[in-house]
Amino acid sequence: MADVITDQTEGADVDPLAEWMTDLRDTVVTDYSEAEVKQMSAATAIAAAGTTGGVWAFISGAPILTKLIGTVAAVGLAVSVGVATDIIPNPLDQAEDPEPIPPTVDADTPSDSGPGEPTVTIPDVGDAVDPLLDTVGDVLDDTGEIVDDLVDDLTDTVGDVTDTVEDLSDDLVDTVGDVVPDIELDVGVDLPGDDLGVSVTVPDPIDSGEVDIDLGVDLPGLPDLGLGLGVGVGEWGAEVDLGISTDPETTPPVTLPGIGLPLFP
């Protein structure tokens, strides 16, 4: 025991068990600082996002009012990146389906069924199981390290790809701002699923300005849902289109009839 001094003045009047319980609670339960709370809750939120599905979004831009005011709109790009966490074993699976805890019932343990009933005594197999547990522990250690390394590599790779896409988008934004009358840039990062898609489409320049904003949401257990909002401003008016697709990667969106707004009769 550590270098301690017996509190003899209180020992006679105070229940040592009560003292011990208070000391145990007060010494091992210590509050987290606010900084630690923020850090842990942020890490938890990332884990939660990785489970509830990634949100991928892309915004395509095109010059607005090109013919009317000769201005080129900027292209916005949003990339939402999650972390692929599904490959990590879910600890709660173990919590919900716990391994049986080796019984350590003593011979003098009273039975729940009441006094006088025979007490079940289970042989102690701990010595035989310990080497096996050690081996399993070593294997789990190795597996955990491999998985950790794999996750690190994947995270780095995703980070590199994201950086590249961002650089590319910056270049394209500059280009659009200078020259290109119409460009569509789609970037979809779908995590923690198995899709990582990036596509860049440069359609033929069109005379009228047009802005399309598309948002794809990937939720676990539900089909992908894509929403598209297009605003076209032409020489004679503006039009708003709304497209809905249950799976934007495999089926074309169903575009609702556009609503035309006559601006220049």
Binding site: V4, P91, E96, G137
Partner: protein
């Protein structure tokens, strides 16, 4: 929604529902309210890295909270169930060789003297648990540190309430006998400070 630490929530929306909806304040509240106790349980069980384990518990909760159903009381039991499983699994899988107690009891106390004093007291308290069988120890620390009722401990340990009462009674009796016979030694300055 803003929560206050250790303040019961009586609003329409429970803590679990708010966390499930991604409420940042709810998660902060969860960390603030349950984190210290989970870390305390890990310390008392001799887990090597209590902070890492605590984060693992919250990560597991975040991944599974969409499946949780129940009120705040059930949420507390659910949280400590996850914590207990994590502790048991961690001990079996990785922490077969523990580091010294002072390393596990690193605190935010100001000054090395206060830290050493707290660690010394905690060490004395935890060492007293060594006389207990594993199941007695689990019941005692869940009762004393997490302040859980018998019914909740029975759910967490997957046994009957009667068995929990027997284990708790026997464990506390053995602890009292040991503390009475040997004298419970407490650092005086810690007692005065406390």
């Amino acid at each position: 929604m803003v929560y206050t630490a250790r303040q019961p929530r009586t609003g329409e929306k429970g803590l679990a529902a708010a966390a499930r909806d991604g409420d940042d304040d709810a998660w902060k509240h969860i960390v603030r309210e349950f984190g210290p106790t989970i870390r305390g349980l890990a310390r008392a069980k001799g887990v090597n890295d209590p902070d890492d384990l605590t984060q693992d518990v919250f990560t597991a909760m975040a991944r599974s909270i969409s499946r949780f159903q129940g009120d705040d009381a059930a949420f507390r039991t659910w949280t400590y169930s996850i914590a207990y499983r994590q502790i048991v699994n961690r001990w079996r899988a990785r922490d077969r060789e523990f580091v010294g107690l002072p390393d596990r009891l690193a605190t935010n106390e100001p000054g090395p003297e206060a830290q050493a004093m707290r660690a010394s007291t905690a060490e004395a308290c935890i060492e007293a648990l060594d006389i207990l069988a594993d199941n007695e120890r689990d019941v005692v620390i869940l009762s004393v540190i997490a302040d859980l009722p018998t019914s909740d401990i029975a759910l967490i340990l997957d046994t009957t309430q009667g068995n929990i009462r027997v284990l708790k009674s026997r464990g506390l009796r053995r602890l009292r006998n040991r503390l009475t016979q040997n004298g419970y030694e407490v650092p005086r300055s810690e007692r005065k400070a406390g």
